[in-house]
């Protein structure tokens, strides 16, 4: 690990100030950042430890939603009785990610900002446009079984690894930010992460020094919801494909449907066209098939991940059918 200096400011304002100096990086749980520092991918010169700022609580919002503090641990989120009752797909997504130890350490804000697990991003001996812009993408010609089938570019085919962010995308959550100018702003979680395009070194739309302070969950959606994850082993593995789904059926007709997919793109994938296909359609297998096809309509496989296209389609169909049926 390269040398760095360390400080633990005691206010949000001081933390944001400290992080605006060149080479400064926030650290909270550290489970991804320290990992990347050990393999020399992340090279901060100054660490600003935000882990003790008063951002750990999960509180009710005025409109009946929840405000999840950015420092609430993954375990805090999954264990919260309100999350379990009102947003079960979020609790499911969290407990399907990482290990219990990591969930105790990892924070909500850090989970959103974790980096891809593309092995070429992790290997500093290999070209990688995300790590070193302009050096090339080793995954394009390499072993790319885990990589993107939607929204990728010729510069990067990495996927975002978070389960939690996929659930929050289906819940139409918002991310609350504190900016270096001192102002707070909010943005829809679907606008936090970006597609790689020609600048895969930028995972998110955050400006330098901006600090995630909370995730705002709107009131729980009507209908039934579930998070389903397909992976190579039954526990402690990243998703091949995952889906967060909410389905509200009234008198046999879909009144509202929300979908988000993980393991398929550089960001949690929000298939708006499939959602539109579902609303107003009969809650029948044909409608779910149509939605599944819409999800993968523009999918493009790499050499090793062709299986992800039918897998994503079938996972959407099966998940929607289960929500409508059982």
């Amino acid at each position: 690990m390269r040398a760095f200096t360390y400080e633990r400011p005691d206010s949000i304002a001081a933390a944001v100030q400290a992080a605006s100096q060149p080479g400064a990086v926030f650290i909270a749980g550290g489970t991804n950042l320290l990992d990347l520092m050990k393999v020399d991918v992340e090279r901060p010169r100054h660490l600003v430890d935000v882990s003790r700022l008063p951002l750990r609580n999960i509180t009710e919002t005025d409109d009946g939603g929840l405000r999840v503090g950015a420092l609430a641990s993954n375990t805090d989120v999954a264990a919260d009785s309100r999350v379990r009752q009102r947003y079960p797909l979020l609790a499911q997504a969290v407990v399907n990610g990482a290990s219990a130890q990591l969930r105790n350490q990892a924070t909500t804000g850090g989970n959103l900002l974790q980096r891809t697990r593309c092995p070429y991003f992790y290997d500093v001996a290999m070209p990688c446009n995300k790590r070193k812009p302009g050096s090339g993408c080793s995954a394009l010609q390499g072993y790319n079984r885990m990589h993107a089938i939607l929204g990728a570019s010729t510069d990067c085919i990495a996927v975002h690894p978070s389960d939690m962010a996929v659930a929050m995308t289906a819940l139409h959550a918002e991310v609350e930010l504190h900016t270096p100018s001192g102002a707070d702003r909010r943005l829809p979680i679907s606008e936090l992460h970006r597609l790689p395009g020609e600048a895969p070194d930028h995972d998110t739309t955050l400006a330098p020094g901006e600090l995630i302070t909370a995730v705002i969950l709107p009131p729980a959606p009507s209908g039934r919801q579930v998070y389903r994850k397909v992976r190579d082993r039954a526990s402690y593995a990243f998703a091949l494909v995952s889906v967060a789904a909410v389905l509200d059926v009234v008198d046999g007709t879909v009144r509202d449907a929300r979908l988000a997919l993980g393991g398929v793109a550089h960001k949690p994938w929000h298939p708006r066209e499939a959602e539109r296909e579902l609303v107003g359609a009969p809650a029948q297998p044909d409608s779910f098939e149509t939605a599944g096809q819409a999800v993968v309509k523009d999918a493009e496989a790499q050499r090793d991940n062709e299986f992800k296209i039918p897998l994503a389609q079938r996972l959407v169909v099966r998940t929607l059918s289960d929500l409508a049926g059982g």
């Binding site: 375990t75 079960p88 990591l102």
Partner: protein, 206 residues
Amino acid sequence: MLGMASLVTAVLGRQLQAQQPQANPSLQTKPATAPGNVAVRLTVNGQVHDLTLDPRTTLLDALRDHLGLTGTKKGCDHGQCGACTVLVNGQRFNACLSLAAQRDGESVVTIEGLAESGRLHPLQQAFIKHDGFQCGYCTPGQICSAVGMLDELERGIPSAVSPHLAAAPEASVDEIRERMSGNICRCSAYPNIVAAILDSRAGRPG
């Protein structure tokens, strides 16, 4: 005899004939005046330690190299194997993925701190009874992880295999296997590890 030494090291977290290890002077950090060093106060197994550390020092390296508590093992050093699992303020953490500086003022329990007045912790006793290891390298992490895991179960924290998210989880084989998935055993002693954990709960409800 070697097997016995390995067993004692694994379960108690210390070498045969070694008493509670003291900090190794040759491994102490640079003096406090060195630029960039940080002062860190750790309470480890009830004992307060004031350390001056290079900020890069992980909690794992602080325990092993600065406090001489080598019961906590370094396996992958990347949070994948769980050999370094310790309890931080009662919660299980991977000590390799935490900076010691971040734990300043906090309380850490390692495998060396589980036995009380010469009496093994029920989980240590159960691992011996059920032969919950072969080489023993992952065992300190397995046992510390199991202590934290049983507490999480008691607090009703759900897992990926809990059938009903809103209900209190039960200490079933499936739950234990899922909840211990962050601790890898390369010898694959899993059946005995699960049996030991289940047995350690004997007499408890649920």
